[in-house]
Symmetry: C2
Subunit: 671 residues, 2 copies
């Protein structure tokens, strides 16, 4: 600051109330979304938009507000508010946040403002004077947001002496003049089609008040001799101080007008409505000496980084984990880890395909629980369990959705308890359980009408469930219980993932997905034009397309029947190394995810990274789907025969009987 | 039945009250243990032992009791009770139970009894007359026990006409005679050293009562003309009927004595103590005609299968799941699946080594939760968690010990919540949690005394925890946090299992277990004599013994330092395919189990089923353990330097700095 020249009276110096940044929860939420889905690791500057108003009650600080809409540069500014354009620097790490060169950032912003003043761009578009910076680091694991706000203000070469005022506008203007000012300002806003004018020019006498845009200053001020009057849309409430927006404007005025005028009269336009009555009389007005700046070529130094809550120079932090709805917080937290995969590791990952997959889990035992857990980890929101068992005491240590208490009083039904547990783990999941039996080949349904009726209802229920899901997991503990859902799912062209455990072996496989019944007729899956070579059956040295893959039963030479009868305890329980179910369950879900990520989904070719898969498929050719044909033709009547017959019915149908007979005949011949 | 011969009066026929089987909960419990641990799949006959008494209050059925001790043939029979020897047929399946040939079993037992009568063995050892059969199926998944009890009774060729009685003993004997009977019986029991005599011979007149053993019958009955008197220890309470044990004895009597005597007088000896007063006066006495059987060579037909609760011929079922203590039920249920592994699949599996392993889990995140779950599946009872984090909203869907509610109000400490959850899953587990930090290289401990003191306490706590456990799992999310526990565990010769995740890669490894510091000095591990070839370092074409294996840090060319600073969000979180942690967690536990099953435990050779492991180990030789030496010499002083220094301290110590310099020098030379 320079000392006043000797001989002149020492005038008081003008001081300015800085902006307080007001960063809404909506702003942080939207930043989170942008960071996760769009910016990811990009630390480059981003345009954002805030606003400020001049109608606040006394006592409130002058706020520059950023909310949800800050990232949409075309979003309208709220009524009676002035827009402010800013630049966001969102860093990837707290270290980068701390290390950011704040001096440089400020200088760059100041330069831009200075250039807009010199070029006259700021006269055409005064919003350029109200630039701001926002440096952020979003710790999305903890919902801690670190930020440092800056509203760059160019400094005049010397402090600004007050010639008169500040005083209330009602001390200087008559009510008539005030009313005229108000009307003139409103008219100009309306003409310009803007909610507010940050800066404007004023001419007044006892009877009239005229206002105009900055860019018309030469015409408007023509004939003016020593003093001009300007209006500043002022977010400040203080009677003695103008708000921050005046600072850069005074630099513009000094640069533009100090050669013509010695002083400028400033009307800090404050415009509030209290109890329905509009009031601008509390605006303040004062006159300052304009510093000589007309020929300065260099950008003045600038200030503007906001102080923190303790009043020192430093960043602020908001902890949103405490004020967010916990359930919403859980949802976005769950998405976090998933979205992080897309940042760097698998940018092409289409998470929606996974998250939106409706999964039907047939079996809520060891495999079912582990599959459900892994699906939750992948963000799958729609999980349905089918199981007819109750939770027994040996289950909780191996079936990770159950606890000791679930076993008491005979045990809760697994399907319902599993669904309840998923809700407890993550309230955002849509989990349901159906405690029902799956009819099985060789497990007769009684011919008393009630039990046959029950089997019919169970089949219908299962058909409906499979119809309303996208992926069917076969996770039961017998071979034959997989049969009916495999048939129905094949008929409905649903992706089937099958997992089964041995002691230290397991199988995790997908079933082939047959081509749509009527191509293009209401089926949204991609149609697959059949190349001529394709019609020849298994083409040599080619990978196998998804629609030619078989199912769990295709390789069997014994049809499924009752495998639970006459089993010893160690054959009844799936005796398995305890770690195996977790491995198989996890792999089943990873297989589903991989298939879903394939552009052809369930029709994805069965390929492998090595060349072994390029060998010709088995010379036995593909297993014909007699069962599927029969099911689609006869429906429950066919199923009833299957449930009530022993192996022989299915073996006759599929030609296995014939195969056995032929094999037998061939053997006899050789003996 | 034969019609009475004409001209003779029709006498009433003697009838017998059958045994009621009384199978105690303790019997089923012990059967469960035998089945799980000893019989397994063996369905062969097993000797068991029951007993019956003759002192019950009126109204109680005549019971043959089997309790806990039934499987111990040398267990003493309770005071005043008669033993009964039986054969247990425990089937593996309900189908085998139902299909058992009960007619054949009964015939076989009857044959044995008949043979003991014919041979005279039953005279020497009358217990042979009270044989019983028990056919069982134990559904240990549901704690349902199916059983069918049989007390085989040989049938006389015709029904037995009552000549006199039955009537109360006090109608026939004077108080003096009764007292004499009592004294004579007691004296004989004492002489024989048995708690009771099932059958005995009686001679009496008005003044004296004599008793003797069956085997002495020819001397005892010498001179007797038409009638003998026998005593039967009688479990029945009914005034008109004798209990079942008399039946086979009458066959013996008919076979042995019907040529000499026409009738036998039977004293059904009943001996109860009520309100401190002993009473045998309610015994009953009657006389029956002895059928002529002296020269029958063939075993008579037999009866004896017990009726069920409904009064029909059929098995009974007890459901113990409802009357067992749920927590104990949970414990035995959990053991069930494990023990089933030993029946057929891995008979040599030593479950105790696994179940008794005390496991310390460093890290209670994604890996920690999955490892704990798999340990529970293996029946491990002692699990301790160390973690300093709190549960956040993104955790529950991937960390299977937490739920949404655990995240509220800032989140519960993971270590404590994980331990609580284990208790909820299985109340029999001994789970603890320590919410504490693990000091790390390059994460300075402040030199203000408090924080240094805290680090010292943390190190001490960690040393104590590692000391008091058998297996240490490294399941943290940074490289450097694995350093200190790896060093301490190596120094304490504890098995270390390390698991770490990448995006779609993971490492699961064991650390080498150095040889005991002082062989035989309080260390219970097997000592390993060092063969001369061993001293030469890595022997060619040999697998690597456990004590020569390195640790997680042995292959690194950069010492661990602070890896968390300056990380972007996707580098901070372990971004990983959700299924991966389950796979790695499960494999880590399976690795521990496999190592524990090896006869040399942590010293097990690193081998593989294929031949690749037979190639010579790396020519770089084994990494020297400078760090371990230093830690063992300097303790916390050494650690303090590590925590507070950057990489360079550890790199200097381990020679990595030299290695880098030499590499650099070599590169420069070549340029």
């Amino acid at each position: 600051m320079m000392a006043a020249a000797p001989g002149h009276p020492v005038l008081s110096k003008l001081q300015f109330a800085p902006f307080s940044s007001a960063l809404d929860v909506g702003f942080w939420h939207e930043l989170t979304q942008k960071k996760l889905n769009e910016y990811r690791l990009d630390e480059g500057p981003k345009d954002i938009k805030g606003y400020y108003c001049n109608g606040d009650s006394a006592g409130l600080p002058a706020r520059l507000t950023l909310e949800f809409s800050a990232f949409d540069m075309s979003a309208p500014t709220p009524a009676h508010c002035c827009p402010a354009i800013g630049t966001l620097y969102n860093t990837n790490t707290l270290e980068a946040f701390k290390a950011a060169d704040k001096k440089l950032l400020l200088e760059q912003a100041a330069d831009e403002i200075w250039e807009s003043i010199k070029s006259g761009a700021a006269l055409e578009n005064p919003v350029l004077l109200n630039k701001f910076l926002l440096l952020t680091f979003a710790d999305l694991k903890k919902y801690h947001f670190y930020y440092w706000f800056c509203s760059p203000a160019l400094c005049l070469p010397e402090s600004i002496p007050l010639i008169q005022g500040p005083e209330g506008l009602d001390h200087r203007f008559s009510p008539k003049q005030i009313q005229a000012l108000q009307r003139a300002y409103d008219d100009l806003c309306q003409t310009e089609g803007v909610p507010a004018l940050p800066y404007f020019l004023i001419k007044y006498d006892e009877n009239t008040v005229l206002v105009s845009l900055l860019k018309h200053y030469s015409d408007f001020f023509q004939g003016q001799r020593t003093k001009v009057t300007v209006g500043v849309y002022d977010p400040c409430n203080l009677a003695q101080y103008p708000g921050w927006p005046l600072r850069n404007f005074l630099v513009l005025a000094a640069h533009r007008w100090s050669s013509s005028f010695q002083s400028v009269e400033v009307l800090c336009f404050r415009d509030r409505t209290m109890q329905g009555v509009r009031d601008v009389a509390h605006s303040i007005i004062f006159e300052v000496k304009l510093p000589e700046m007309a020929f300065s070529p260099d950008c003045p130094k600038a200030v503007g980084w906001e102080k923190n809550q303790k009043g020192g120079m430093g960043p602020r932090m908001v902890n949103l984990s405490e004020c967010m709805d916990p359930k919403r917080l859980a949802e976005s937290s769950v998405d976090l880890n998933l979205k992080l995969m897309c940042w760097r590791l698998v940018p092409t990952l289409d998470l929606d395909k996974v998250v939106s997959a409706k999964c039907l889990l047939l079996g809520a035992g060891t495999l079912g629980c582990n599959v459900a857990r892994t699906l939750m980890g992948w963000g799958v929101r729609h999980i349905t369990f089918v199981d007819n068992a109750k939770i027994s005491y040996s289950n909780p240590v191996r079936q990770p959705l159950y606890e000791f208490e679930d076993c008491l009083a005979g045990g809760k039904p697994k399907a319902l308890a599993a669904a309840d547990r998923l809700q407890k783990i993550f309230p955002g999941v849509n989990a349901r359980g159906f405690s029902m039996s799956i009819p099985m080949p060789g497990h007769p349904v009684n011919f008393s009408s009630v039990t046959l009726e029950q089997a019919r209802r169970d089949v219908e229920q299962l058909e409906q469930l499979i119809e309303s899901h996208d992926v069917v997991f076969l996770l039961m503990d017998t071979r034959e219980s997989r049969w009916l859902p495999a048939v129905i799912a094949a008929s409905k062209r649903k992706l089937v993932i099958n997992a089964a455990l041995g002691f230290d072996t397991f199988v995790v496989m997908r079933h082939g997905l047959k081509k749509p019944k009527q191509q293009g007729a209401g089926d949204l899956r991609p149609s697959h034009p059949v190349a001529p070579a394709d019609l020849l059956g298994s083409s040599l040295f080619a990978n196998i397309p998804g629609y030619k893959l078989g199912c769990y039963f295709c390789n069997d030479v014994v049809a499924p029947g009752d495998s639970t009868r006459d089993r010893t305890l160690d054959q009844q329980c799936t005796v398995s190394r305890p770690g195996l179910a977790m491995i198989a369950g996890a792999l089943a879900v990873e297989l589903m995810v991989s298939v879903l990520q394939h552009p052809e989904g369930g029709y994805a070719i069965a390929s492998s990274s090595d060349d072994r898969m390029n060998e010709p498929p088995t010379s036995l050719g593909l297993v014909p789907h007699q069962v599927l044909d029969q099911y689609e033709q006869e429906g429950f009547n066919f199923l009833e025969k299957v449930f009530n017959s022993s192996h022989s019915f299915l073996e006759d149908l599929t030609g296995l009987t014939l195969l056995h007979q032929e094999t037998q005949a061939a053997e006899n011949k050789h003996q």
